[in-house]
Every structure is written in structure tokens, then in C-alpha cells.
């Protein structure tokens, strides 16, 4: 199918530098759904909203604005695959568009690097584009599946920074403004042939954000552990996410939880793009699933 919708693919850090299968899968699977992701040359860290935002919000705004200007220069909207990046890139774009004082402050700094923020582009999470029937939509996802994930039970971790705080968000679809019990991701999981599974306290944070993972790893993992306990109760084959930082926390975090708390879960954790890749017939090798901290083998045996 010809790609009709083109976006500058803002990569962030953890997807390209720790889970490159997410990047590869996002490009390939989107193309099959009519979305063309083109490189955003020279982009940097979003920057990390927890670390940079905590230190000095003005630097945070200016650094995110630089990434936005790169896409403005291409006259192309941004698509990205990480909730943390969404928090920085979408939210700073939104703030600068609506607050002249912030925009003037940022442009004073950007002048030093021959740039000017104009507010001419929009920012989207790939998950919202996939869900949007005007762009791709659940039906189109279902039609693109060649290897249905039949017989597997999959739970969703939405993460925080795509949908929260909802009072600031401006999604095209009301379903995405439900932050207490959303089910739009479950619809996308069901479209792949898998059974979406609900669990207690689904909307709990992964524990990694706000710089807490670096500041107090035990505290951070204790939150992750609570989620893993609730997931264990419902018996699932995999957890899916739409944020590589959440993915890192659940995937590598399970190894750290084993070391620190002695609890073992062996729960495969896959980004929705990776899951979609498998359902569209990509091999585990094409998704570099061997780079995951927790083996995806038990899950793969059920779907391949």
C-alpha cells in the first residue's frame, strides 16, 4: 500500500539505543498501514522531562523547541513512539503555541543557534495515529495481520505521559481522554488476534519517571513490583507498552527486582510496535527481541 501520511520520526534515546527493534518495527509496520516515517536529522534527547524539567524548565523548553524547529524546517508533523518524549515534545509545542512569554523566551535563546520556533507543526504519538481511523484505525490494523497472535493473553501498560494530565491533552478521540480506565489499546491488542486482559490498578505508573529510577532505584522498583504482582494474578503471556522507558523499567527492571527483592516473574514485555511486527509476520530476529532482558521465547512459542 502507498503511504499517504508522512511524519518526521522523532526517535528519542531508549528506542534507538536500547530497543532498536522498536524503531525498525515502527517504520515497517506503519508503512503497511499507510504511514510513512521519515528521519528527523539531528534530533537529540527530548530532553528527559524528569531530569531536565526538574533542573530548569527554561532549558527544558529550549531544548525541546530545538527538536521541534528541526521538524518545522521540514514542514512535517512529528510522530514518536515514547510517552516520555511525548511529554517533552508535544507538551512544549502546546505550551509555546499558547504562551507568548514562553515562546519569546525560547526564541531569544534559539537565536544564538540561528533558529526560530514558529509553532507550525503538530506532534503525535504513533499509537494515536494507529488508533485513528482517519489515519490507520483498528480495522486497518486487523486487516494487516498475517500471523494472528491467537491463543495469547496480553495486558496493556498505558504509561503516564501520553494521556496524563488529561486537562491539557487534545486528542481527536474521546476514548483517549479516559485516564481512569481506557480500553483503546486493548482494542488494538484484540485486532492482532490476542485476548486483552484487564488487571487490578492498571493505570499505576511504572515507577521509572521523574528521575526516581536514578534517585532511588529500590523505591522505583517497588512500584514496578506492585504492577508485576497484579499482572501475575491474572496470568498473561506478555505485557505490552507504548513507551520504551516503561519497557526498560518492566524488562530490565525484572532482573533488578530479582536481585533486590528475590521475586521472579519472567514476563515478556513488548512495545506495541514489536507486537504489531510479529502479527504482520516480522521474525524475532527482525525485531532484535534477543536484546530484551527477559526472554520472549515462551510467548514466541505460542505465536510462531
Amino acid at each position: 500500500m502507498d503511504a499517504k501520511h508522512t511524519y518526521a520520526f522523532y526517535l528519542g534515546c531508549i528506542a534507538p539505543n536500547r530497543y532498536p527493534g522498536v524503531e525498525a518495527a515502527a517504520i515497517k509496520t506503519s508503512k503497511k498501514l499507510g504511514i510513512d516515517l521519515v528521519p528527523l536529522k539531528g534530533a537529540s534527547c527530548c530532553p528527559a522531562p524528569g531530569a531536565f524539567g526538574s533542573i530548569d524548565l527554561n532549558v527544558f523548553y529550549a531544548m525541546a523547541a530545538r527538536n521541534l524547529v528541526l521538524a518545522e524546517q521540514m514542514k512535517t508533523d512529528i510522530a514518536l513512539v515514547c510517552n516520555g518524549c511525548y511529554k517533552s515534545i508535544w507538551e512544549v509545542n502546546h505550551k509555546l503555541k499558547h504562551n507568548d512569554d514562553l515562546r519569546d523566551g525560547v526564541n531569544e535563546v534559539l537565536k544564538e543557534v540561528d533558529m526560530e520556533y514558529k509553532g507550525t507543526i503538530n506532534v503525535y504519538h504513533l499509537a494515536e495515529l494507529l488508533y485513528d481511523p482517519m489515519i490507520a484505525g483498528v480495522e486497518k490494523i486487523r486487516e494487516s495481520v498475517t500471523n494472528p497472535l491467537t491463543g495469547t493473553r496480553i495486558a496493556v501498560h498505558y504509561g503516564c505521559h501520553l494521556i496524563k494530565p488529561k486537562k491539557d491533552r487534545e486528542f481527536a478521540h474521546q476514548e483517549m481522554l479516559n485516564t481512569e480506565g481506557p480500553t483503546w489499546m486493548e482494542e488494538m491488542v484484540a485486532a492482532l488476534g490476542a485476548e486483552p486482559v484487564e488487571y487490578r490498578y492498571k493505570m499505576l505508573c511504572c515507577g521509572a519517571g521523574g528521575g526516581v529510577r536514578g534517585y532511588d532505584i529500590v523505591h522505583s522498583l517497588d512500584i514496578t513490583n506492585e504492577k508485576l504482582l497484579n499482572l501475575k494474578d491474572v496470568g498473561i503471556d506478555a505485557l505490552t507498552d507504548i513507551c520504551p522507558f516503561c519497557q526498560l523499567q518492566f524488562d530490565r527492571g525484572q532482573i533488578e527486582i530479582q536481585e533486590k527483592f528475590g521475586a521472579v516473574y519472567n514476563l515478556p514485555v513488548l512495545h506495541y510496535s514489536e507486537l504489531l511486527g510479529l502479527a504482520q509476520g516480522m521474525s524475532p530476529q527482525e525485531l532484535a527481541l534477543d536484546l530484551h532482558g527477559i526472554s520472549c521465547e515462551p510467548f514466541l512459542q505460542k505465536v510462531l
Binding site: 526517535l11 532498536p20 534530533a43 534527547c45 522531562p49 524528569g50 526516581v212 536484546l291
Partner: protein
């Protein structure tokens, strides 16, 4: 909860001292937090919806309601020197549920900005600044990942500042404008020697 092995020393001290000690009030602190956070903590009626929504509250002495109260009362020292300030995961659940339409999460971010002005900042935050200053990435590429990328048919380095390092100079100029790298280096040196 598991034993607090590896907790920062300041947090251990805090856990021993649970009394809310008084401190001189600074009304300017309330105004500054409202300016930076662009939210309205003075509207708080202390219902506690924020703390009851907080994932950090059940596993620590961090109470977002208490921090919002400190903002309203101008208890600057008490707020900025409390190590609990850094236990907010910024999940925004409190912001989503606040019946007074306050964004408590953003007041925490504002207080962290003000703490940094006094050199109060966990070292891991500053290490991220150093990493981005050097490579443009907070989590940079490595050799294992480069090899994996090539196998996937991707470029060894992503088409970011990694593949186009000529863009790093602009990033350094922005960070230097705020003297952030300079301060990060100094504070890390003072802490680690």
C-alpha cells in the same frame, strides 16, 4: 516493602524525623512557585485526593498534600531541603484528580527548579545533563546496540545527533546559555571530589 538498601543518606535521616518542624514563612516562595509552575496551589483545600492517588505515598514518607501546604504557607526551607521532594515520579495522577484544578505535579517541578538554584539536586539528574551535552542523548548508543541495528537493516547510529554530530554544538550553546553544564560539573565535583 523491601529493605531500604542503597537509600540516599538524607532520606534515611528524613525517615527518622517525622515531625513537621516549623520554619520562617516566605510569602515570595508561594508567588515564585505559582509563576514557575503556572498552576494555582493557593486554591488547595487540603482534601488529600493527591496523596491518595500517589504511587510514591504508600512506600515512603512523601506526601504531595504536605508539599502543596508548604507552598501555600511559604515554608521554603522545609520544602526545598526535604529529600522526599525527589520521590515524585511525575505520573500526574494527582493533577488528573485534583478537585480544585491544581497541578500538584507541576508545583513539585517548580520546587525542584528552586532547589537546584541552591545546589540541591540528586547527582543522577546532573549526569543526564553531562550525557546530553556530550552526545545529544541522555541514553547514548553502544557497540552491542550498533551491531544489532545493522542486523536490523538500520544505520549503526540513529539519524540523530549520533549520526550528525555537527548538531551537538547548537545543543551545547543552548545548555551553556543557562550555565547548566558548568553548574552540573561543579556540583558533581563537590559531591564526588
Amino acid at each position: 516493602m523491601a529493605k531500604a538498601k542503597g537509600y540516599p543518606e538524607a532520606l534515611e535521616t528524613k525517615l527518622r524525623d517525622r515531625a513537621l518542624h516549623a520554619d520562617d514563612s516566605n510569602p515570595q516562595f508561594t508567588k515564585t512557585v505559582e509563576e514557575i509552575s503556572r498552576t494555582i496551589p493557593h486554591m488547595c483545600f487540603q482534601c488529600g485526593t493527591c496523596t491518595s492517588s500517589c504511587p510514591s505515598a504508600p512506600r515512603s514518607s512523601y506526601r504531595i498534600r504536605k508539599f502543596v501546604r508548604r507552598v501555600v504557607l511559604g515554608l521554603e526551607n522545609e520544602a526545598l531541603t526535604d529529600p522526599d521532594l525527589w520521590l515524585c515520579t511525575t505520573c500526574y495522577s494527582c493533577t488528573d484528580r485534583c478537585p480544585r484544578d491544581i497541578a500538584p505535579t507541576d508545583t513539585i517541578m517548580a520546587m525542584r527548579n528552586l532547589a537546584f538554584k541552591r545546589d540541591i539536586i540528586p547527582i543522577n539528574f546532573l549526569k543526564t545533563v553531562q550525557a546530553i551535552y556530550k552526545s545529544g542523548h541522555g541514553v547514548p548508543n553502544n557497540d552491542v546496540n550498533r551491531a544489532a541495528r545493522v542486523k536490523l537493516g538500520l544505520t549503526a547510529d540513529p539519524p540523530t545527533t549520533h549520526m550528525y554530530p555537527e548538531y551537538i554544538k547548537g545543543i551545547q550553546k543552548i545548555i551553556d546559555h543557562y550555565k547548566l553544564k558548568e553548574n552540573a560539573d561543579r556540583i558533581i565535583k563537590e559531591a564526588e571530589g
